[in-house]
């Protein structure tokens, strides 16, 4: 594992009883990369991600996040990562400011930094007039952007995004990816699961999961070349059918 590798796994497996959700996956992610974790629903993306976030214990294999062992050092890992779940994870009955305060608070940011973050975020997302409004008053697209910003409010090394763009229109999705690029430029490694194949094009590298296994890994250009097709959609169809 070289200095630039921030996520690595070797033969990582998770079984629920007799069902193998994640089957012997091995890969590495470099610092500052946007790594797409693709696959159909139920392919094991979320389960794999949860193991890296310390939400699930693996059954076998090894894994390291930010240099820490996912078996024994999940507490340290949690300090260095951000996580955004499929459901946006903002509190509807709290205001924009209070949500930022809360998430910054549970990551142990001091008051000055929290205040600075609030200024920064509302400025960046143009939420000025909404800062003291309840989240429930916000349109979906803004909720989502805010949820992402909140997930990186403590400047983590890695941010895990679990199907972050579900249910929003293409324009908002594009804006959302601008935010992701911005974070990646600032050195944050982005690990994102999705089942939108067009989003794969936004990633530096992707891995394609089918039935718990990684069937293909590499940059999208490399994969398209390898399977001699024009889009990631076709790559996906070939891999899913081949199996």
């Amino acid at each position: 594992m070289n200095a630039e590798t921030v996520i690595s796994s070797r033969n990582l497996t998770k079984k629920f009883g007799s069902f193998t959700a994640v089957d012997n996956i091995s890969f590495e992610v470099q610092r500052g990369e946007i790594f797409g974790f693709l696959g159909a629903n139920g392919a094991g993306k979320t389960t794999a991600m949860k193991m890296f976030c310390g939400l699930l214990q693996p059954t076998s294999g090894t894994g390291f996040v930010a240099g820490y062992d996912i078996y024994k050092e999940s507490e340290k890992i949690k300090q260095r990562i951000g996580y955004m779940s499929q459901k946006f994870s903002l509190y509807e009955d709290l205001t924009v400011n209070e949500n930022i305060q809360f998430y910054a608070g549970i990551y142990g940011l001091d008051r000055k930094r929290i205040q600075r973050k609030q200024e920064e975020l509302t400025e960046k997302l143009q939420l000025g007039e909404y800062r003291n409004k309840l989240i429930s008053a916000l349109p979906l697209g803004w909720k989502q952007k805010l949820a992402f910003s909140v997930a990186v409010v403590h400047d983590p090394d890695i941010v895990f995004l679990d199907e972050p763009t579900g249910g929003v229109d293409p324009v908002t999705r594009r804006q959302f990816w601008d935010l992701i690029y911005e974070s990646a430029d600032a050195g944050v490694t982005v690990f994102v699961t999705t089942h939108y194949m067009d989003e794969a094009e936004y990633c530096n590298r992707i891995s394609m999961m089918v039935d718990g296994r990684i069937e293909a890994i590499g940059s999208t250009d490399l994969l398209k070349e390898k399977y001699k097709v024009n889009s990631m959609n076709e790559v996906f169809l070939i891999l899913a059918r081949n199996y």
């Binding site: 949690k78 955004m84 499929q86 009955d93 990551y107 142990g108």
Partner: protein, 368 residues
């Protein structure tokens, strides 16, 4: 610690912004205690009665005076003949007629026995029964007074006194019961709902992926509810004390300690429910059907445990609230100290310990 405070603050926002729930939580106990205290009572005061005094001697007058001076009865009218009885009853103004026989006093002095007829309106059997019991005990008292000075034979007069609640006020029992129900409601039900809400919203995962430890999350979530439970219990105690005169004879510190012990039990029950329930609605149903209903029925709050079939009496032992109600009653009404309630306290402590262990294990299993 800073994280913890941030978390508690968020929880307080949740609670205080949910105005409707707050209204229910604070309004319900107040409404209930007022209802139980004023409306639901076994005691009857100022029942209207009529008297048909055929004797009109000084003994009958004395007895009449004694009856009316107790406060239980109010004289509606003196009847002149038995014919008037029916119509007066039918007007619905009186509950009872007392008829003195002719020569009531004379009979007493000469024959050492006299007849007194009591006719009660039994369309409400409970009231009729209660009123008759009142009259009987008053008359018995009266006879004892008359006999004073005579030493004719040996007799045993049972003198009944109701201790710890001399006037048999229903509200004395309802205050401890109500506190129990409210504690269950606030702690078990509210926490199970608020924990499942985080699950439903997907925020629980985010919290678990943060550096907050699961145990910290749980404690931070339940802490405001513990405070709320104490606050509402205090309101019920104060209302009971100032409005109905329900005493707190024992030590308040001991009462609060027992309260805390019971709250720990119900909180862990709430956490337990939240580990099983997937949605808030399921959590609500489980708390109501699985916790609240058995508690109300089997804890002795409404139905006396002594009157239940053996099997239910046996089951009632596993209802923590049963023991808690016993403790609260003993402390408040009898002024018992820990030496009197240590057994019940130990049982509740056992429940608390067991459920806390179980809920922590369940909560962790869910993560793994």
């Amino acid at each position: 610690m800073k994280r913890f405070i941030a978390f508690v603050k968020k929880e307080v926002y949740h609670i205080t912004r949910d105005f409707r729930t707050m209204l229910i939580l604070f309004g319900m106990p107040v409404a209930q205690i007022l209802l139980f205290g004023f409306a639901i009572t076994n005691e009857i005061r100022d029942a209207n009665i009529a008297i048909l005094d055929n004797a009109k001697d000084h003994v009958s007058e004395k007895l009449t005076h004694k009856l009316l001076s107790t406060g239980y009865f109010k004289l509606d009218s003196y009847l002149q003949s038995t014919d008037e009885m029916e119509s007066t009853f039918k007007k619905g103004k009186i509950k009872m007629v007392i008829i003195f026989n002719k020569q009531f006093g004379e009979d007493l002095t000469k024959r050492h026995s006299a007849d007194l007829q009591i006719i009660a309106d039994a369309s409400d059997p409970n009231t009729a029964n209660t009123l008759i019991n009142y009259v009987q005990s008053i008359v018995r008292d009266f006879v004892v007074d008359l006999n004073r000075g005579f030493t004719a034979g040996v007799r045993i007069e049972p003198e009944i006194r109701f201790r710890y609640n001399q006037n048999l006020k229903g509200v004395f029992l309802f205050v401890p019961g109500l506190i129990t129900i409210i504690l269950m409601l606030v702690t078990a039900m509210m926490t199970s709902i608020s924990l499942t809400r985080e699950k439903e919203l997907g925020t629980m995962e985010v919290l678990l992926a943060s550096p907050m430890k699961p145990i910290q999350i749980i404690i931070a979530k339940v802490l405001p509810y513990i405070f709320l439970a104490f606050l509402i219990s205090m309101i019920v105690l104060l209302l009971g004390y100032f409005v109905f005169g329900v005493p707190i004879k024992g030590s308040l510190a001991l009462l609060l300690f027992e309260l805390l012990l019971f709250v720990l039990t119900t909180l862990s029950l709430g956490i337990l429910i939240s580990t099983v329930a997937k949605t808030q609605l399921v959590a609500l149903m489980m708390s109501v059907m699985g916790l609240l209903l058995p508690t109300i029925i089997l804890s002795g709050f409404i139905f006396p445990i002594e009157n239940m079939p053996m099997i239910l009496q046996w089951i009632s032992n596993i209802i923590p609230a049963k023991w808690f109600i016993i403790i609260v009653k003993d402390i408040m009404l009898k002024g018992s100290g820990i030496e009197m309630v240590w057994k019940e306290t130990l049982i509740i402590a056992g429940f608390a310990f067991g459920f806390i262990m179980l809920s922590i294990r369940k909560f962790n299993v869910r993560l793994g």
